[in-house]
């Protein structure tokens, strides 16, 4: 139907377990997702849905043990990311994939200036050892780093970039710090940017400005982005496609436009109706809490809380199926509509 878009990152059937003395927690249970070049996707879900673990796996930031990758694969530009050595990772982190972390207050080191942060990241990306770099080379790199830092700050429309470089994190407001963190992640113009709920710690008006800025920037630079959030409104604003996650599984995937005009999965519906609306309508929320990952239910993981559960939902887990309208949903309610048989 559409032009075949090229996948930049693909996760196929990822399963991650966490071992502790209580047993094995099946935290990620067969997550598949795809990010095309130049595309912005959102991973939406409430606490405990596994969105953070999923993206941390992409960057190799999930420590094993306690985690175990029992199934699936993550490929970035055709290269598998599971089992890379630390040396190989350093080449990918920053230049290939980079990440914006959640908390703007703690992500910057208080004893370094903004300039030191930005220039250092520029200089030492992918280098294991700085001991044998000559003074001359260092000076060159520093000069280039400074120029690049100013360039990126200008692109983000931050006033007085030269002045900002001399400031310490504590002198900046929360919103400005969040912008610096974005600049840090973008200084090497990565191909894929992972944003873990940036701006949630900030006020709505500031968050709004930052998200608009971030979206403009990734579009301008042609960067793909995975945006993690618990806020469906934010996902609607920023992304082209949305993955809704629940208890370590993707329950629904759709383009932003179609998801917000009509959601299919009972969980997505419950979530959307729970959000307080400006017209004064607000649903009753969803009963219960997420299942125990040590003893996940045999059937659908949403079974206990589902308003439309059927008998067989507790027995067989549903699979993420492509429906006739091209949307994907993991729910037995849509069993008949499956087109063809997909793996």
């Amino acid at each position: 139907m559409s032009v075949k878009s090229e996948a930049l990152l693909e996760i196929k059937g990822l399963k991650v377990n966490f071992k502790s003395f209580e047993g094995t927690a099946q935290v990620i249970n067969g997550v598949s997702l795809k990010v095309n070049k130049g595309e912005v996707i959102s991973l939406v879900g409430e606490s405990g849905c596994g969105k953070s673990v999923t993206v941390r796996s992409i960057l190799g930031l999930v420590p094993t043990p306690p985690a175990q990758f029992t199934n699936g694969d993550i490929t970035f530009e055709g290269q598998s990311l599971l089992g890379l050595s630390e040396k190989e990772w350093q080449k990918i982190r920053g230049k290939g994939i980079s990440m914006i972390f959640q908390d703007p207050m703690t992500a910057l080191n208080p004893v370094f200036t903004i300039g030191q942060h930005l220039i250092d990241v520029y200089m030492w990306q992918g280098k294991r050892n700085t001991l044998f770099t000559s003074m001359k080379e260092k000076r060159e790199l520093r000069k280039k780093g400074r120029a690049r830092a100013i360039e990126i700050l200008e692109k983000m429309r931050i006033p007085d970039p030269e002045g900002i470089l001399e400031r310490y994190p504590i002198e900046l407001s929360g919103g400005m710090r969040q912008r610096i963190i974005i600049a840090l992640a973008l200084i090497h113009t990565p191909k894929l940017l992972i944003a873990d709920e940036p701006g949630t710690a900030l006020d709505v008006s500031v968050q709004d400005q930052i998200l608009i800025e971030l979206k403009r920037l990734v579009e301008m630079e042609g960067i793909s982005m995975i945006f993690i959030t618990h806020n469906l409104g934010v996902a609607r604003m920023i992304s082209d496609r949305v993955y809704v996650m629940y208890a370590g599984e993707v329950v629904e995937e759709a383009t932003t436009q179609s998801l917000f005009s009509q959601s299919y999965h009972p969980y997505t519906q419950g979530l959307l109706s729970s959000i307080p609306k400006l017209n004064g309508q607000m649903g009753d929320g969803i009963d219960g809490r997420i299942p125990d990952f040590l003893n996940p239910p045999q059937g659908c993981r949403f079974y206990d809380r589902c308003s439309e559960r059927m008998d067989h939902c507790s027995l067989t887990p549903p699979k993420l199926q492509t429906l006739s309208d091209g949307r994907k949903v993991s729910c037995h309610l849509f069993a008949e509509e499956v087109v063809g048989i997909h793996g």
């Binding site: 606490s47 919103g175 309508q281 009753d284 969803i286």
Partner: protein, 333 residues
């Protein structure tokens, strides 16, 4: 009987800034700067503001956690501005608070039963048997199973913990409850449940709520009246309907316009985006005149003088010199 349970007149709460070895006072943080409100029985008043707006200080001042710098608070017709410790303790039976983060507001070393029994013990109510009966009653009111009483808070989910927080606030049969961002630490699907519970309880026990929040879309679904706070002052005060259909103050408009909504219907209800410059200034170094003029895109020379809170054509109150001009302009465009 007086129809207002709470009346606040010109409330001021300043925190001194002390510097140097001798702790010399060099200025004030004007956390709450001349606020007046009236709260009808059985109604909900929401105070909306960003962090640093002074909304929590206002709530704590009303709860009399602090001594006031200036102003007057009438609760149930009685002046509670300056009262002794004994009367204050008595007052706490009628006035309660639900705290923001249910994880830190419950003592991790106490069982749920002891947490719920504490208010009864503090006010010397009943014997062990009658207290246990009341504790069981409370846990049923917030729709949790009785076996939770013998558990510690950490084994409960966030929503369940907040239910315990609410049950604790109800223990003494208060008339008035301050809700300090009771759902900001919770997931939306749980938030909806808690809000539903709070609404039910309000009807059942004829409670009056003062609802402190930063979430304007939640206010729409919960409150009767709204006060929008900016740097210690109320900049707009209105009934909930009018605030969303006819927001007057440019600050309110900008706040509304930055809500991330989930449907096209809602999007069309939002005012046009107003780009603000910068962030909320520090309350220790407040702008003179209209406090919002440093960020307001419409600011003019007149904004260097303080505007008063005046009634608008829609019956709401707003604090802006240019209100007519701005809103005419918008209709013209």
């Amino acid at each position: 009987m007086d129809n207002y349970i709470l009346q606040v007149e010109n409330l001021k709460k300043y925190f001194p800034i002390k510097k140097g070895f001798f702790k010399k006072k060099v200025g004030d943080v004007k956390a709450v700067d001349e606020i007046s409100l009236k709260l009808e029985r059985g109604k909900t008043l929401a105070i909306v503001g960003e962090s640093g707006s002074g909304k929590t200080t206002l709530a704590k001042s009303i709860m009399r956690f602090y001594d006031l710098t200036e102003g007057k608070i009438l609760f149930d017709g009685k002046d509670i501005t300056t009262i002794n410790e004994q009367k204050l303790k008595k007052l706490k039976q009628d006035m309660q608070m639900v705290h923001q983060d249910p994880t830190t507001s419950l003592n991790p070393r106490k069982k749920i039963k002891d947490i719920l029994e504490a208010p009864l013990l503090i006010h010397n109510m009943g014997d062990a048997a009658s207290r246990l009966k009341r504790v069981k009653e409370l846990i049923n009111i917030v729709e949790l199973p009785e076996e939770f009483l013998y558990r510690y808070p950490h084994s409960l989910s966030g929503g369940q913990k907040q239910r315990i927080g609410i049950a604790r606030a109800l223990a003494l049969n208060p008339k008035f409850i301050v809700l300090d961002e009771p759902t900001s630490a919770l997931d939306v699907s749980v938030q909806a449940k808690i809000i539903t519970l709070l609404k039910d309880l309000q009807k059942k026990f004829n409670l009056t709520y003062l609802f402190i929040t930063h979430d304007l879309s939640l206010v729409r679904n919960f409150a009767d009246d709204v006060g929008v706070m900016y740097l210690g002052s109320i900049v707009e005060y209105s009934d909930v309907e009018t605030l969303y259909t006819h927001p007057q103050n440019p600050y309110t408009q900008s706040l509304l316009s930055s809500i991330p909504v989930v449907s096209d219907d809602e999007q069309s209800m939002l005012p046009k985006k107003i780009p603000l410059t910068g962030e909320i200034p520090s309350p220790s170094n407040m702008p003179t005149g209209c406090k919002f003029h440093t960020r307001c895109p419409f600011a003019e020379d007149i904004c260097l003088t303080s505007p008063a809170l005046l009634e608008t054509e829609y019956g709401s109150f707003t604090r802006c010199h240019l209100v007519e001009k701005i809103n005419k302009q918008k209709i013209g465009v």
